[in-house]
């Protein structure tokens, strides 16, 4: 007798994605969709897609999704959730969207304790626009706008936004995970599921930061990029639960 043990999540459309080889977004999309399916919330989920590499996320997710202006993603999610508290609302944001142009929105949405979930994909670079420095770019990292490497005197420091948010009483669950290995990917899945469960149970604001690979703008192979997360990125941005209930 044959038994189905693995298949595409219902929440994930059967379409070709535009992501580059070795990019983490495809993995994160799948984990997100698996979590939504497993919690049985697909039909009441409303996603808010960002501006950035994941701008076309609504083409890949099979539930209600809206776009949002760059960085305003949590404000849009706030408007939706306050009008429809019975729905499950999440924002999906990159590091430029969340930690640069949308810094005010993420801080105040978290501080109001909005009962939404934020999926924050941190690859330390602006991918969609050609690999410029992001707020999360590591010191010394070469990008299109830091050719000699991020210079802390000229460019400031990489920002640990989750640690900043964790001090706010409105934040109930914050965890940093990664998708650079099978083991870490499983852990990422558990964190994403817990973040959504936090919202389902009306506990409050939840955020998962996911360290993700950008081989193209890191100038590496996919394997080297995954190794870089282990050896460099996760050293600066430690993986683990930052705040929980």
């Amino acid at each position: 007798m044959r038994r189905l043990i693995f298949s595409r999540p219902k929440s994930l459309r059967d379409v070709e994605m535009h992501y580059c080889a070795g990019c983490g977004h495809g993995i994160v999309h799948r984990l997100l969709c698996e979590a939504i399916d497993e919690l049985g919330i697909r039909e009441r989920t409303i996603g808010v897609a960002p501006v950035g590499c994941a701008v076309l996320a609504y083409d890949y997710w099979d539930f209600d999704v809206t776009e949002a202006a760059h960085g305003r993603t949590p404000a849009v999610a706030t408007g939706i959730k306050r009008v429809r508290p019975e729905n499950i609302v999440f924002s999906y944001q990159g590091d430029g969207d969340l930690a640069a142009i949308g810094t005010a929105e993420i801080i105040h949405t978290a501080n109001r304790g909005e009962n939404i979930t934020v999926i924050f994909v941190n690859n330390g670079v602006y991918g969609m626009t050609g690999g410029q420095m992001a707020p999360t770019t590591l010191a010394g990292q070469k990008t299109d706008t830091t050719i000699a490497g991020r210079n802390l005197k000229r460019d400031g420091y990489p920002i640990k936004i989750l640690e900043m948010l964790a001090v706010l009483p409105g934040v109930r669950y914050a965890e940093r995970v990664s998708v650079h290995s099978a083991q870490e990917t499983l852990r990422a899945k558990r964190a994403i599921k817990k973040a959504f469960k936090t919202q389902v149970d009306n506990i409050g604001f939840s955020i998962v930061e996911i360290l993700s690979m950008c081989p193209i703008y890191w100038g590496m192979t996919a394997i080297q990029a995954a190794e870089r997360i282990e050896t460099e990125v996760a050293t600066f941005y430690p993986i683990g639960v930052i705040k929980s209930y």
Partner: protein
């Protein structure tokens, strides 16, 4: 008949929104519109709606975007500098065909300017303001009662056309108190069928709201659809008030609070035997250009009066098409044209 209430324009605007079934408001403090934010905070609590004092104007307009995405009747308000901050969000609302009501209680500019009444944001409201080819329905009330009525109707217009509606008021109208009659309009049902709204995909295919259209020719098609909608609005929604336009040598054109002063000047001129009329556009877009064009060759002169360096005057000139003279009188920086100043200008033109 319900008794009349004495309210300031900002409060009347808020009550108009509540009567229209507005259930969501987000705003940030700025003078001279603060009474409106405070009124919405109190009234939305009373009627079980949502009020959010946002961290910025950017957040406010995008919260309104989200509320509209979810199907609510949603509003935000601000004054000139804050309205500048909202422009990106307004462009997104149009691009995504989302209804919303945005109120500008104008103050003097440019820059931080002052907090006195002004009409210097006409171009911003009427010609675009944000990026891309778009139009807003722009309503310009001239009394506290009309501020309420315009806000009330704005929600219907926004839902009908799935486009933001903009109310262009000013500090004078926002602060001024007048008796307001609520009776003529009743409470509305709060749910309006919006099959496009995001509610969760139970029992239907998922809905997507987006303005990013990358496919070959897709964005041009979307723009054509929007332009057709704007054409329909232009054909149907022009509103204006006019006085003595058939037998006047000079026709004043003024909107909003300054139209009241213009009307007083017109009446004074008439009492002195001068043939003066008045056109008061209520919709600034669509502009009542046909009304003006039709009388352009029978009128010797048009005198446009604004609290600006001259913005609406350009639309009057476009409507007149060179068939008669168009003159202008304006005050800037929060100064208000007086009845006497307008009379002097009329007398100089005759």
């Amino acid at each position: 008949m319900t008794p009349k209430l004495l309210m300031c324009g900002n409060e009347a605007c808020g009550e108009g929104a509540i009567l229209a079934g507005c259930t969501f408001y987000a705003g940030y403090p700025i003078t001279p519109q603060n009474e409106l934010t405070a009124y919405m905070a109190r009234r939305l609590d009373e009627v079980g709606g949502v009020f959010i004092q946002s961290e910025s104007e950017l957040a406010a307009i995008n919260m309104v975007f989200g509320a509209s995405v979810a199907g609510a009747r949603a509003m935000t308000s601000s004054s000139s500098p804050g309205i500048s901050l909202k422009q990106e969000g307004i462009s997104y609302l149009v691009g995504c065909e989302l209804p919303a009501v945005i109120v500008n209680v104008q103050r003097g500019g440019p820059g931080l300017g002052n907090i006195a009444p002004s009409q210097a944001d006409y171009f911003q409201a009427v010609k675009g303001g944000g990026h891309g080819d778009y139009k807003l329905i722009v309503l310009a009330p001239s009394s506290v009662q009309e501020f309420l009525d315009c806000t009330y109707h704005a929600f219907d217009l926004a839902d009908r056309y799935r486009n933001p509606v903009f109310i262009l008021s000013d500090g004078l109208l926002g602060q001024m108190m007048e008796p307001v009659q609520l009776k003529t309009i009743g409470h509305r049902p709060k749910t309006i069928d919006k099959p496009w709204a995001l509610t969760g995909c139970k029992g239907r295919k998922p809905n997507v709201i987006r303005s990013l259209l990358l496919g070959d020719g897709v964005l041009e098609e979307h723009n054509k659809k929007l332009q057709k909608k704007f054409k329909d609005i232009k054909a149907r929604e022009v509103r204006a008030e006019s006085f003595h336009i058939k037998d006047s040598d000079i026709i004043l054109v003024a909107y909003g609070s300054v139209a009241r002063t213009a009307k007083a000047s017109m009446q004074k001129a008439r009492s002195e035997g001068l043939k003066v009329g008045l056109i008061r556009p209520i919709t600034l877009w669509p502009f009542p250009d046909k009304l003006i064009e039709d009388i352009a060759d029978k009128t010797k002169k048009f005198l446009v009066i604004e609290m600006s360096a001259g913005q609406m005057v350009e639309d009057v000139m476009l409507a007149v098409k060179g068939k008669s003279e168009v003159d202008f009188y304006g005050r800037m920086g929060g100064e208000i044209p007086t009845e006497e100043e307008i009379m002097q200008k009329i007398e100089a033109l005759i």
